[in-house]
Structure formats: structure tokens, C-alpha cells
């Protein structure tokens, strides 16, 4: 659409991400088939980190930042990992990538607490997107929200059309 340079940049990035995740997805699926069990989120995160770290020092490195969320199939513990294109991996309670970090992390610092529920989480997420709509110079065209629970991944309805006005 309009604002071509900016929108194109984000378009580019998504493709790259898909390409890389396709490769990861294929490998994770191969693991599941071979071993009749799924990788745990921590195991997968470290595997992806390893791949990214190898790629970093190759001729054509992957240029992608990731957030990895998952629920352990055995302990049912949820976990979130922050991973950047340099392959620095950190387990975190909340995270963001790109410019959003500068706007969202302070909100999350204030409003996140360790034993919050999904509903509360969505509320904080909404605060974040509101802030982005208010302050981010780019129109990011809405959000896709998914929740990972022990029963699987499900899409969450999210109101993208909400108009946020500056106070």
C-alpha cells in the first residue's frame, strides 16, 4: 500500500522468517517422526539457536529475529525465549522484537506478573498494541494473536479496528 519503503521492509522480513521457520519446522517434524515424541520448547529453542549460530559465521547468514513460545509436553510448564539474528538466546517472561521493544517493554515491565492468566495477558497485550498505534509512525495493519496452551495452539480473536486516540 502506501508508504512503500516502510511496508516493503516489513514484508521482506516476514518472508525471511518463514523461510527459516520452514526449515526449522521440517527438522522438528522429522525429529517427532523419528523418535515418536515431540521436542520440548527448551530443546527446540537451543536447537534453533545452534542453527542460527552456525549460520551467523557462514557466507550467507540468516537475518531473522525470533520469539519462541511453547508448553513442555511432559511438565506442562510454559516458556518463552527471545532469540535475535546473532543467535543470542535468553529465557524471558515477556519479550518484543524490532522497534516495538522500545514502546512495549516498559509497559510489560510495569504490568506483567509471573502468575497472570491468559485473559490478563491479552489485556496487557492490548495495552501494548494501543501504545504502538498511538506512537509508532508505521501503520502495522493489525495483529495476529495466537495462544500456546498445553492442549495446542489456538488463534485468538483480536480487535484490530479499535481506534486509539492520543489522550
Amino acid at each position: 500500500m502506501r508508504g512503500a519503503t516502510i511496508l516493503k521492509a516489513s514484508d521482506d522480513k516476514t518472508r525471511q522468517l518463514n523461510k527459516h521457520t520452514l526449515y526449522i519446522q521440517a527438522n522438528a517434524q522429522l525429529y517427532s517422526m523419528r523418535n515418536e515424541t515431540d521436542l520440548s520448547p527448551t530443546a527446540l529453542a537451543h536447537y534453533v539457536r545452534g542453527q542460527l549460530a552456525t549460520s551467523l559465521r557462514s557466507r550467507k547468514p540468516y537475518n531473522v529475529n525470533l520469539l519462541l513460545g511453547g508448553v513442555d509436553p511432559i511438565t506442562h510448564k510454559p516458556s518463552l525465549f527471545w532469540l535475535d539474528y546473532l543467535a543470542a538466546l535468553a529465557p524471558v517472561p515477556y519479550a518484543a522484537h524490532g522497534y516495538a521493544q522500545y514502546y512495549c517493554l516498559s509497559i510489560l515491565d510495569k504490568h506483567h506478573h509471573p502468575d497472570m492468566t491468559l485473559v490478563q495477558g491479552i489485556k496487557v497485550l492490548e495495552m501494548c498494541t494501543d501504545e504502538l498505534k498511538r506512537r509508532l509512525p508505521i501503520d502495522f495493519k493489525g495483529m495476529i494473536v495466537k495462544a500456546v496452551t498445553k492442549d495446542g495452539i489456538r488463534d485468538i480473536e483480536f480487535n484490530d479496528d479499535k481506534v486509539v486516540k492520543c489522550p
Partner: protein
């Protein structure tokens, strides 16, 4: 007739047998006995150590069998989360154990988690299988009994042999007198036995399958995998004193006074 087929590992005989693999199994049946028993709260591995000569240096540690010998038994650890007992050629076992350790550590490097037991066993068996098929090589003359724990399947006991087959067991054995050890285990095995009961069962079976009626700590090795009160998994190779105490408990120890004579 059989000469035409048994010199090479890769060729089936007309009866559909692989002679080299069977010879490898035969070699193992001359090794000391090793047995493994799965209990509800742990696993015990017990092995016979054949003392070939008085002059042979006895290792102070129970983990190492005398180097370079044929048909020795030993307990070694392929990775930090598993231990295994070996029946067969020590030299072959060393190669395989090194391979297993590397595989396990490589998995840890990739996934930052211990390798699930069955995957490690399968890796090793894939290697063993290769030697029954690709030309010009002799199969590994070793059977392993593996004991391990992982979060998904808890305590596990596996047996693998030179053909590259493996299976999970509640109680199993390898080496000399395997047949009689197996039938004794079948007779004595109780579902839901404790680790302590399993240890008792192990010495009893060993005492019956070994040539000498009275056992001593020099002749056998013991290793256990268990869980501490706070849920931690431990692997332990028993010291000579602990083995002696266990033997005395079951009245199988060699009489000290008889030894002096």
C-alpha cells in the same frame, strides 16, 4: 558348504543366516555374565568380573576392567545419564562406548537436554547394524545392557546385541549362561519390586550362574540407577565394601577363614 557363506559378514547363507553375527554372539556367550533388573524405583546392573591372572593389576576403581582382555565384563557409562554393563570383547566395547559418549554429548550440545535413553540405544545399534551389512568388516562382539532414566519414560532397561537388535526389558542378561540366568530371572521377577529387592535378586542369580558357588567383591561388579528422596536421579558404581555387605546379607559371601587356607 558353510565355508562359502560364513567368511563374509554381508552374505546370507541359504538358510537365511548371517554366520559372522552368530559367531559374534557365540563369542559373547564365553564372556562373564551380566544382568540387569528394572525395579519400580531404580535399576540394578550386576556383572561378573573374570579374574584371569593373579598378576593382573586390579583396578582400584570398580568401573574399569583389566585392559586388553578378551571376554571381560564391566560397567561403564556411555553418557552421564545412562550406565551400561558390557559382555563381550572389551576392545570392541571401548570403541562403542566412546561413540555413545560422543553421541550423547553432541545431543546435549544441540538440544541442551540429556538424550532420551532409547535414542542413545538406537544410535549405538545403528552403528552395530552397519557392521553386519557393509563388506569386509567384522561385527562388534559385544552385548550391552543399558540402564537409564529420562523424564518421558522414567526408568528403562535395554539389551542390545551384535546384530543391532535391541529391546526394552524388565530383567535381562547377557554373556555366559544367559539361558539359565534368563530363566532364573523369569522365575524370580516380581512386578513392582524395589531396588533393594532387585539387588538381592541380582546376587542370587549371579551366584547360581557363575562357576564358583561363593562370591566375593573381586569377582562381581554392581551399579545402580536410582532416585534420591528429593527426586534427583543418581548413578552409582558400588565399592568393594558395599558389595561385600550385600553378599553377606544374602549369605553368599565367601568365608573369610576359608580364603586364608
Amino acid at each position: 558348504m558353510s565355508r562359502r557363506y560364513d567368511s563374509r559378514t554381508t552374505i546370507f547363507s541359504p538358510e537365511g543366516r548371517l554366520y559372522q553375527v552368530e559367531y559374534a554372539l557365540e563369542a559373547i556367550s564365553h564372556a562373564g555374565t551380566a544382568i540387569g533388573i528394572l525395579a519400580k524405583d531404580g535399576i540394578v546392573l550386576a556383572a561378573e568380573r573374570k579374574v584371569t591372572s593373579k598378576l593382573l593389576e586390579q583396578d582400584t576403581k570398580p568401573t574399569r576392567s583389566p585392559p586388553g582382555g578378551f571376554h571381560k565384563c564391566k560397567s561403564a557409562d556411555p553418557a552421564s545419564n545412562m550406565i551400561c554393563a558390557v559382555a563381550g570383547m572389551t576392545s570392541d566395547a571401548n570403541i562403542l562406548i566412546n561413540f555413545a559418549r560422543q553421541s550423547a554429548q553432541r545431543y546435549l550440545l544441540t538440544y541442551n537436554e540429556d538424550i532420551p535413553c532409547e535414542q542413545l540405544v538406537r544410535k549405538l545399534c545403528d552403528l552395530k547394524q552397519g557392521y553386519t551389512q557393509h563388506g569386509g568388516l567384522r561385527p562388534f562382539g559385544v552385548s550391552f545392557i543399558y540402564a537409564g532414566w529420562d523424564p518421558q519414560r522414567q526408568f528403562q532397561l535395554y539389551l542390545s546385541n551384535p546384530s543391532g537388535n535391541y529391546g526394552g526389558w524388565k530383567a535381562t542378561s547377557a554373556g555366559a549362561n544367559k539361558a539359565s540366568a534368563d530363566s532364573l530371572l523369569k522365575q524370580d521377577y516380581k512386578e513392582d519390586c524395589t531396588l533393594k529387592e532387585a539387588c538381592g535378586m541380582a546376587v542370587k542369580v549371579l551366584s547360581k550362574t557363575m562357576d564358583s558357588t561363593k562370591l566375593s567383591s573381586e569377582k562381581i561388579e554392581f551399579a545402580t540407577v536410582g532416585q534420591t528422596a528429593d527426586g534427583k536421579i543418581y548413578q552409582r558404581l558400588w565399592s568393594a565394601d558395599e558389595i561385600t555387605t550385600l553378599l553377606k546379607e544374602h549369605d553368599l559371601a565367601k568365608d573369610a577363614s576359608a580364603e586364608d587356607k
